[in-house]
């Protein structure tokens, strides 16, 4: 297999050139510090920009599913609406509660957003453009994404509000349960690709996306991943932790201003992260779409930069998740847990076994 097309838009030489340049004019530690700061600022900026895009997309998609048009007044097609909302939320007062546990109350949104940003930084955007790339990347991903549940439970506990507490407990029970399924799916795909590094998983898909190479077990794993990922993001039919009708806003009832904004941002970015990881693991990350045999078609696909492939696939998954959210009614907590423990987890285990058998017998590629 000729993989030379992968180097076409490689970013790595540019980044290493910048690194060498900085190291040549200043001490190495100082250069790394500057690079780290620049990357952190870039990440947080990208985080905010994607949150704005996603909120706009959510409002439009939701409106279209309800035969409405969504925001249309602020800017052309309402494009500036979300910017206006963000600036409004930035200037709002952050209310301090009298009886809340103030340290934990103010820590919770930062824990949630920290987990979200850490997971966000694991996404492979492009060849050579990935911030955190360990050889145990999948483990790191699962570990940091589960910090979020700590933040949610802290928020519910420290608010001293029974709605917050009920919402947080539901959310905690749900997220801890669905993490098992998520882990099973990740294991299945690790068995298939034989590597835990995220860049390794992407590169192993140069000759075909995992969902095509892994056929039956990969498709099953993909479906389980979409369900469990939706639950992890506290969205869709699994938004019972912030069920408006019964719990006002769930765990973030008592939050105002930018503290609430952090929960809100994290919720939308988790949607993007779930979609991005689905893209990475199943749909080839930034790899272009190839059909074996059609060389002309493949060559054209190679000219599309990897970041466009990544974003295109990710926003496609985001759309599917929004489609699911605006179609299905909310589940009860017992139904949520039954779905996980009685259906998804056994299915995930069997699927892992199936994948292992197929891998050993050489039936997946």
């Amino acid at each position: 297999m000729d993989n030379s097309f992968l180097d076409y838009y490689n970013i790595a030489p540019v980044t290493s050139w910048i690194n060498d340049l900085l190291c040549s004019i200043m001490p190495q530690g100082f250069a790394y510090l500057i690079e780290g700061l620049v990357i952190a600022v870039a990440l947080i900026l990208a985080y905010a920009v994607f949150a704005i895009i996603l909120i706009y997309m959510e409002r439009k998609v939701c409106a279209f599913f309800q035969l409405r048009l969504g925001p249309m007044r602020v800017g052309k097609w309402g494009l500036l609406q979300v910017f206006a909302d963000v600036f409004k939320i930035l200037i709002k007062e952050i209310i301090r509660l009298k009886n809340a546990d103030n340290l934990l109350y103010e820590l919770a949104p930062y824990v949630v957003i920290l987990a979200s940003i850490l997971t966000f930084s694991c996404l492979p955007w492009h060849k050579g453009l990935q911030v955190i790339d360990y050889n145990i990347g999948v483990f790191f991903l699962l570990a940091v994404s589960s910090i979020e549940v700590v933040g949610i439970i802290l928020a519910g506990w420290s608010s001293r509000n029974k709605y917050s507490l009920i919402g947080a407990m539901r959310s905690g029970a749900m997220m801890i349960s669905y993490e098992l399924s998520l882990g099973m799916v990740m294991l299945t795909m690790v068995v298939m690709t034989g590597t835990m590094s995220i860049s390794g998983i992407v590169e192993s898909q140069a000759n075909g996306w995992n969902i095509f190479k892994g056929h039956i077990p990969a498709v099953i794993a993909f479906i389980i991943y979409l369900i469990a990922g939706n639950a992890e993001a506290n969205r869709g039919p699994f938004d019972l932790s912030e069920a408006e009708q019964e719990l006002t806003a769930g765990y973030h009832t008592e939050y105002s201003g930018m503290h609430f904004g952090f929960f809100y941002l994290a919720e939308y970015l988790n949607l993007f992260i779930v979609a991005g990881i689905a893209t990475t693991i199943f749909l080839g990350g930034w790899m272009p779409f190839h059909v074996s045999g059609l060389d002309g078609f493949n060559a054209i696909m190679d000219y599309v930069p990897g970041i466009i492939w990544f974003l295109g696939k990710t926003f496609f998954i985001v759309f599917v998740l929004m489609w699911i959210k605006w179609t299905f009614p909310r589940l009860r907590i017992d139904q949520v847990l039954r779905l996980e423990w009685k259906y998804l987890l056994p299915l995930g285990m069997l699927n892992l076994l199936l994948m292992a058998i197929l891998k050993v017998t050489g039936l997946v590629f």
Binding site: V61, F64, L67, R68, M72, W323, I324, T327, Y343
Partner: protein, 155 residues
């Protein structure tokens, strides 16, 4: 064994019903949207014929209306919205005849029940679709429905 079968049957039936739901919502997603872009689409705005915007008295090209001034609409109105002012004249044959002087209608107290239109024996009044009725003071809402110098349409 029965329970075992039920487990799989439930799982697949549930999945199938979810897919049907997603097909339905996708159809709706692709359908034309219902939202009216109101001030911008004034020219193309479609309002249902039966919508009651305000009470009007249609006049024909000779400035003639059909109101005989019987006052049935005034009696039918639950809010005292309508005031029919009439006068009598004696015609050439010596018969006394009532005619309409002023038909006063207060849009501000109208509740658009259409009882006046239903009460009218001559179809002299009707509700129009015009709904942009906002004004800066309430006196402007009191309107005279018969035009200046109009007369009764002869049969």
């Amino acid at each position: 064994m029965n329970k075992f079968n039920k487990y799989f049957k439930d799982a697949f039936a549930g999945l199938w019903s979810l897919l049907i739901g997603m097909r339905t919502t996708m159809k709706i997603f692709l359908r034309a949207k219902l939202t009216e872009q109101y001030p911008e689409n004034r020219d193309t705005l479609q309002i249902s014929e039966r919508f009651r915007g305000e009470l009007v008295m249609p006049h024909d090209e000779n400035n003639q209306h059909k109101c005989v001034g019987c006052g049935l609409c005034q009696i039918a109105c639950p809010n005292d919205t309508i005031e029919v002012i009439t006068a009598t004249e004696t015609d050439a044959e010596g018969k006394k005849k009532r005619y309409l002087v002023k038909y006063e209608y207060d849009l501000g107290s109208c509740m658009f029940c259409q009882l006046c239109v239903n009460a009218c024996p001559h179809d002299a009044i009707e509700f129009s679709n015009h709904f942009e009725n906002a004004v800066y003071n309430r006196e402007t809402l009191v309107r005279q429905l018969n035009h200046e110098g109009s007369s009764l349409k002869s049969k």
